[in-house]
């Protein structure tokens, strides 16, 4: 009977094309708005490493001014980065299974003797060797550096896949040499395509920015005085004229993450931080109350406002809008179905049960909802494109927001789920109502 009911649905649409189009548009616009807001919300709020969420922790300590918190709007939170000396000290604790300290840098890269030897600007993530294992960055060629490269100058470098495409045409470049600023580095690894959205491990330069172009070992970066091109925040009036002074300052600019596999290691790390805090406080640092935190990824995304309240409100408004669209659709369906009640009466007289009529009309609503979902997906795609334009209009280099311009599986699942919700919400009552018509009334009036 499904095929028969589908055919009747199409006939019904032909009978009232304007009304049908109105319903499809109403559902489509509602679903489109919801899909846009949900996709943006999902992209922004998704934990890209949820399977390790309970093992990965951002390390923060409140080293800020005694009188003014790092974020006056949220005084309970410590700064989201560490000073150089705190980070390097904690990194040597030996407690975590893995520990990573890092910052963003920038420079100029070229391939001497390459097909295109022109220098080009590039971004770098200065980090320690565990970065790739901790954040599960896959390698296409080669691998990470050894532990010694975290401590001393070893001119090795890891390229991302896009940078390897640009510099070496995508071939296996392990062993090749490139020039970073005025220094030659040997390529020891090329990562496979990888991107964390949001870029939870460093949210300072755009939540959805792509990864940096290259990865430089911590030892080399410190030895070569590679400056931070990321976020650096200072509160204390102190001498920053030399590199040495900057490294010993209270400026925060280092991100630190640790992998702590169990409660025991977490407790040990927390104690280690607290003991360090007490020792430093005794020496005159850390003027604020103790606030040393190990924050898991989920909480980190909340603390760093990756998903703003505006987004949540928008999702709520989108659903409210969908509800309004569905209420209108219920009215239109009721009008349409009851207008055709005499035909339903004839079908009842010819042997259709209430259940059969309900099924017939509910399938008709289902087709309308499916058409609405398709339209909604189209409108959603346009909406997401508009969002992307809106986000990137101020800064065309915010390439990470391109993700918002594309559907993912979740968006399509949302559209399908919303179509089902729309069909049930809008169609249940009209389909039930038409099943209850008294056929005798309409047969007499035909």
């Amino acid at each position: 009977m499904l095929g028969y009911y589908l055919r009747l649905a199409l006939l019904s649409f032909r009978r009232n094309p304007g009304l049908t189009a109105l319903m499809v548009v109403a559902i489509g616009v509602g679903i489109g708005v919801c899909v846009v807001s949900l996709t943006v919300f999902h992209t922004m709020s998704g934990n890209p490493i949820w399977w390790k969420s309970d093992r990965l922790f951002a390390v923060t300590m409140d080293s800020w001014d005694a009188n003014i918190p790092a974020d006056p709007e949220r005084p309970q939170l410590p700064p989201d980065q560490l000073t150089y000396r705190d980070a390097t000290y904690l990194h040597r604790s030996g407690i975590p299974q893995r520990s990573v300290i890092m910052y963003r840098s920038g420079g100029v890269v070229s391939v001497p003797g390459g097909a295109d030897p022109r220098p080009r600007p590039a971004t770098a993530r200065v980090t320690t060797r565990d970065f790739f294992a901790m954040f599960e960055v896959p390698f296409k060629y080669g691998g990470t550096w050894n532990t010694a490269a975290d401590e001393s100058l070893e001119p090795v470098i890891v390229l991302t896949d896009p940078m390897n495409q640009k510099l070496f045409g995508g071939e296996n470049s392990v062993g090749r040499t490139l020039r970073w600023n005025d220094r030659e580095f040997r390529v020891i690894g090329v990562t496979a395509p990888w991107e964390a959205r949001p870029r939870y491990y460093d949210l300072n330069n755009g939540h959805f920015d792509p990864p940096e172009d290259v990865f430089i070992p911590w030892g080399a970066a410190i030895a070569l005085d590679l400056d931070s091109a990321g976020s650096t925040n200072c509160w204390k009036s102190e001498d920053l004229s030399t590199r040495e002074a900057f490294l010993n300052s209270e400026c925060v600019w280092i991100q630190m993450w640790v992998e702590l596999p169990d409660a025991e290691s977490r407790a040990r790390m927390q104690s280690y931080m607290d003991a360090y805090w007490a020792q430093q406080r005794a020496g005159g640092r850390f003027p604020r109350p103790r606030n040393n935190r190990l924050t898991n990824v989920d909480q980190w995304l909340v603390d760093q406002r990756v998903v703003s309240n505006d987004n949540r409100v928008l999702v709520g408004l989108a659903f409210a809008f969908l509800a309004v669209c569905l209420i209108n659709t219920v009215g239109l369906l009721l009008a349409k179905f009851l207008n055709a009640a005499p035909i339903a009466g004839i079908r009842r007289a010819l042997g259709a049960s209430r259940r059969a009529l309900f099924a017939q009309h509910f399938i008709e609503v289902g087709v309308v909802a499916a058409a609405g979902a398709l339209l909604g997906l189209g409108l959603g795609a346009l909406g997401l494109y508009a969002v992307r334009i809106l986000y990137t209009s101020e800064n065309p280099n915010r390439a990470g927001y391109e993700a918002l311009g594309h559907f993912d599986v979740v968006s399509i699942l949302w559209a399908a789920a919303l179509a089902v919700i729309a069909a049930v919400a809008a169609g249940l009552y009209p389909a039930w109502r038409i099943g209850r018509v008294e056929p005798a009334v309409y047969l007499k009036n035909q």
Binding site: M1, Y4, L11, R14, R15, P342, I343, I346, R347, R348, A349, L350, G351, A352, S353, R354, R355, A356, E438, P439, A440, L443, K444, Q446
Partner: protein, 239 residues
């Protein structure tokens, strides 16, 4: 056999209570052609709707071909209506956006017959009423008489035991009315029981017996006379 005993049907509104049928008893035997007459508002159509399971009744007992319909669910009543009853209406009641073939197909769809069997029944019913060549016409492309014949084909396609006709010639001119009545008589001779509501006493006289309803009660009827053996033994159509 259709057997109603002491049936009552009341329509209630906030202000008025209308007794459409009161203590209504009637038995129609297999193969009969019964004409139901009566003034407007006497309860003829209500009787036909109750008989056709389109409306429920309040008190009494109604056995349709041995089934006590008051105990049936909506699904069971619908199935019984689909399998045992064919309707013919004054206004034809064809579905306007289906062609004649698909209109005749409607009751068969609810019986979940396969395509081949449905096709055979539809074509033989349309041949019987002389509309085989118009099967893909839309109702609006047919004359009133042709539409009524299409409606009769639809009623007959399911091979019902009972044909309930509500003023089947009311919208037709006298020539077409005569043709439709001839067709009904032919169908009755093939063994289908027919109950026809009509205002037209001349048409009613062509039935085996007349039942006259006034104020929801039978005021007069001709007693049932068994049919001649030859007619009773006649086959049914559509097989």
């Amino acid at each position: 056999m259709l057997d109603m005993q002491h049936i009552s049907k009341v329509y209630r509104s906030d202000l008025v209570e209308t007794h459409a049928l009161r203590d209504f008893s009637l038995t129609v035997h297999a193969g009969e052609f019964v004409a139901v007459t009566g003034p407007s508002g006497s309860g003829k159509t209500t009787f036909l709707n109750v008989a056709g399971l389109l409306e429920t009744f309040h008190t009494g007992r109604y056995l349709l071909d041995g089934s006590d319909v008051s105990k049936l669910s909506d699904d069971e009543r619908s199935r019984l209506r689909n399998e045992k009853i064919g309707f013919i209406f004054q206004g034809f009641n064809l579905i306007p956006d289906l062609d004649i073939y698909d209109n005749v197909d409607v009751p068969l769809r609810y019986r979940r017959m396969n395509r081949a069997e449905r096709h055979e029944r539809i074509t033989s019913a349309l041949e019987l009423v002389g509309l085989a060549s118009r099967m893909h016409h839309m109702p609006s492309q047919l004359s009133g008489g042709q539409q009524q014949r299409a409606a009769i084909a639809r009623a007959l396609a399911g091979d019902p035991k009972f044909l309930l006709a509500d003023e089947p010639t009311g919208n037709l001119d006298s020539l077409m009315a005569r043709q439709v009545l001839d067709l009904l008589e032919q169908i009755n001779e093939m063994g289908t029981t027919i109950i026809m509501v009509t205002h037209d006493l001349e048409l009613a006289r062509r039935a085996h017996r007349n039942v006259h309803i006034v104020d929801g009660q039978i005021s007069d009827f001709r007693a049932y006379e068994p049919l001649p053996e030859a007619v009773a033994a006649a086959g049914t159509i559509g097989r």
